[in-house]
Structures are given as C-alpha cells and as structure tokens.
C-alpha cells in the first residue's frame, strides 16, 4: 500500500521523509493490536458472564432434579427421605463446616409411610468400558439387599454398553440381589448372581463392581451411624 501519489501535491516535503513514512504506514501500531484484542476479550467476557448468570439457575435446578429423581427411583418411591452428610468417615445430620452443601458427599435415607427405614441411597463412580460410570445406588442396610440403581452419567458404547442405563430388564434384576454378588452369562434367580448383557460384559461387570464396592464402603458407615443413635 504505497500511497505516495495519493498524497496532497502541496506537501512536497513529504517526499523527503517519504521512505520512513512509507515503511511505517502499512504497519499497524502494537498499541492498536493490543487494544483490538483487549476490547474483543472484554466484550466476549461480558457476553459469557451475562449468559452464564441467566442459564445457571436452570442448570442447577436440572442437576438437583436429576439427583432427586434418582433417589426416588432407587429407594422405590419412599414416603420421605433424610439427607445425611459425610464428615471425615462419619455420617452426620448437619453439613460439615467449611464445605459447600452442593459439594458435600451425601447419603439419602428413605422411609415408608409408617416411618420404617426402607433403604439408603448413595452415589458411586468407577471406570466402566470407556469412562467413569456414575451411579446412584439404593440398598437396605438391614440385609445388604440392593433396592435398585440409576445411572447418573455414563459414556459406554451406544447400543451395547449404554444398556446399563437403557435396558430396564437388566436394571430391574438388581432389585433384591444381596451384595456382594457376581455376574453370570445365563438366566438366574440366585440372589448373589446377576445376568450380564450380551456384548456388554465389561459394562455389566462395572455396574456389579461399583455396587459391591459401594455397599461394602457404606454399610459400616450406616451401621456406625445407627449405633451412635442416628445423630
């Protein structure tokens, strides 16, 4: 863009210091480059923050509703439930100090209409076939019998491994199984055996492993909580 012949004819002196100007003219100053990026960044930041503020309540509400629905499902529609919090390795009725309630590890204790405890629901996650499988698990502390599980998050193979979430027949058979149980490839009515999904043995075994480990981990915690009088 050498614009020397565009220059006003009267400014003859321009041609003398032309070379330095001619070199500098097409070059955009560093300040302008910085200013462009700074303004663009500020505008982008403002747009993102505004939309974040608008969408956050809906996103949080969905997360809460998802957990609530999963608790209701795995505790088989309890009349009501209590929320317990894990502080250290102990369950308490009050949230531990200094921890955000949303972030605290929780156990949900379900009761029937007569006030009898029907089960405890807890979250657990372990690697599946591809990524972590995140489950809500319900079990009855009295006999270690599973009341059900719901998938909170999974990235298993579509059409095969994702049956751990979508195949209701597979999920239903966990009801009443007594932990620890194992997987088998044949139809079974054994309380310690679960029939795995054809073509998704690893995903099926992951669910079995997650539930067994979770019950083994949480049963002592619930029993300790009971022994201390449920405080």
């Amino acid at each position: 863009m050498s614009g020397h012949h565009h220059g006003p004819p009267a400014a003859a002196s321009d041609s003398h210091d032309g070379p330095p100007q001619g070199v500098a003219a097409p070059k955009v100053s560093s300040f302008r480059l910085l200013a462009t990026l700074f303004i663009a960044g500020a505008m982008a930041g403002i747009a993102v923050v505004i939309v974040y503020q608008i969408t956050l309540p809906a996103i949080k509400k969905y997360a809460g509703a998802k957990i609530e629905g999963a608790v209701r499902e795995v505790l088989r529609a309890p009349a009501r439930w209590d929320t317990l919090y894990l502080a250290g390795d102990k369950l308490t009725r009050t949230p531990p100090a200094g921890v955000d309630i949303g972030e605290a590890t929780k156990a949900f204790v379900g009761f029937d209409s007569a006030g009898q405890r029907t089960g405890v629901a807890i979250e657990a996650a372990e690697p599946g076939f591809q990524e972590e499988v995140h489950l809500m698990i319900g079990f009855n502390p009295a006999d270690s019998a599973v009341t059900g599980y719901a998938v909170l998050d999974q990235k298993e193979t579509p059409g095969l491994g994702d049956k751990i979430e979508k195949d209701t027949a597979f999920r239903r058979q966990f009801h009443g199984k007594v932990a620890p149980f194992t997987g088998t490839k044949t139809t079974t009515t054994d309380a310690h055996k679960v029939q795995t999904i054809t073509g998704a043995t690893i995903s099926s075994r992951a669910v079995i492993r997650i539930i067994n480990n979770a019950v083994a981990l949480w049963l002592p915690r619930v029993r300790a909580f009971d022994q201390e009088g449920g405080k």
Partner: protein, 226 residues
C-alpha cells in the same frame, strides 16, 4: 494522514479474495446445496461422525453449529474494518469461542439431556474448520447481511446433512426416530450403524446417493443441450 484513509475507503469494495456479488438467496442456497459443508466440502467430519448416532443428537449439533455460524459471521463482518490483519485469526477464534460457549450454556439450560449426550462435542465446535473457514473466506470480506445469509445457509446445510445421516443411523441402528420405536419389536437393530464404523458406512451411503443424483442431473443437462 488523510490520503490513506480516502484510499482505503475507495478500495472498500475491492477486498482481495472477496466472494463475487450474488443475490442474497444464493448466499443462503450455496451452503445448503452447491457447497454443502458435509456432503460437498467434507468439513466438520469430527462431529459428523461422533454425534450422529441419534436424530436428536444430530439435530442439536446442527442447530448449535448454525447458531455459532450466524453469530460469528455477523460479528466478524461488523468488525472487519477494525480488526487488523495481524490479529485477525485471534479475533475470529475469540468471537467463535464466545458463541460456542453461549451455545453450550444455553443448550445445558434448555435441553440438559441432549447437552449431556453431546458432551465435549459442543465445546469442540470451536475447532470445527467450517467456522474459521467461513469467517476468513466470507464473513471478513462482505457486509453483515451477506455474512448472516452465508452463516444461515452453511448452518442449514450442516444441520440437514447431520439430520439425514443421524436419521439413517437411528432407523437402522435402533429402529427408532427421535427415540420413538417405528420398526416394531420384531426388527433386530443393526447396532453396527450406531457404532463408529457404521457412521462411516452411513456417510458413504449418503455420498453415494448424492453422487448418483449429481451424475443424473449432469447427464440430463447434457441431453437437454444436445
């Protein structure tokens, strides 16, 4: 320093490499048919393969990309005279990334299940070469109206292709459309079509159909001329 400004203003319509003038409907139509991003340009193959296992996912991905294409096209075009050449890629990516972030948050707030199913592929729209390609080749060189028309066309072309591909895969692979079973319980789903290799084969089938139509049209045009 008045002279260069006048020169720049008179050269406005002569941006090097600017797309030739065209009626507005053609700017839209180009993206849907003649330069369809998926079937002709073969751009954005990563989301095309990854999220077309169900019609709902494919549609949401297409619409999210459409939103980003229109939004980034508009802003790249509006600011095209203020963005210096040296920082243009940085600025375009910033504009695209902003719209992708907005699309991600809006989708999570409105359709949480689809948002979860698409997982990282919505944020990955930033890396879809279709976006930077349209910003650099089109939006940066034309006015905002043409830029929006082009974004709309490319976005619709992308959405329609993804919907065709995901409908084919969901019907054959799950026997359903939008999650509603249409082929009955006696149909054994071809799980293969939901899996990644099936995606490549389904795309191959679509390209075959497109090729056949184009060959037939070319032959008819030749016959009409003869």
């Amino acid at each position: 320093m008045t002279a260069p400004t006048v020169a720049a203003a008179s050269q406005e319509e002569l941006v090097p490499g600017a797309p030739p003038p065209a009626p507005l409907w053609f700017d839209v139509w180009r993206g849907i048919a003649k330069e369809n991003p998926v079937l002709v340009q073969m751009l954005g193959m990563c989301p095309t393969m990854a999220v077309t296992n169900t019609l709902a996912n494919g549609t949401a991905m297409g619409l999210a990309t459409l939103f980003v294409l229109v939004g980034s096209g508009l802003f790249v075009s509006l600011f095209r005279k203020h963005i210096a050449n040296e920082v243009r890629i940085t600025s375009y990516i910033l504009i695209i990334a902003t719209f992708v972030t907005l699309a991600d948050m809006i989708l999570a707030a409105t359709f949480p299940d689809i948002s979860k199913a698409l997982g990282p592929f919505i944020p990955l729209i930033v890396a879809n070469c279709l976006l930077l390609g349209r910003a650099e080749a089109f939006a940066a060189k034309v006015g905002p109206v043409r830029a929006v028309a082009d974004g709309l066309g490319m976005g619709l072309g992308f959405t329609v292709s993804l919907m065709a591909l995901s409908a084919l895969r969901e019907i054959l692979g799950s026997g359903s459309v939008f999650g509603i079973n249409i082929l009955g319980p006696r149909f054994e789903p071809w799980v293969f079509f939901v899996a990644p290799p099936g995606g490549f084969m389904a795309l191959g089938i679509l390209l075959l159909i497109k090729g056949a139509i184009m060959t037939r049209n070319a032959r008819r045009a030749a016959e009409a001329r003869a």
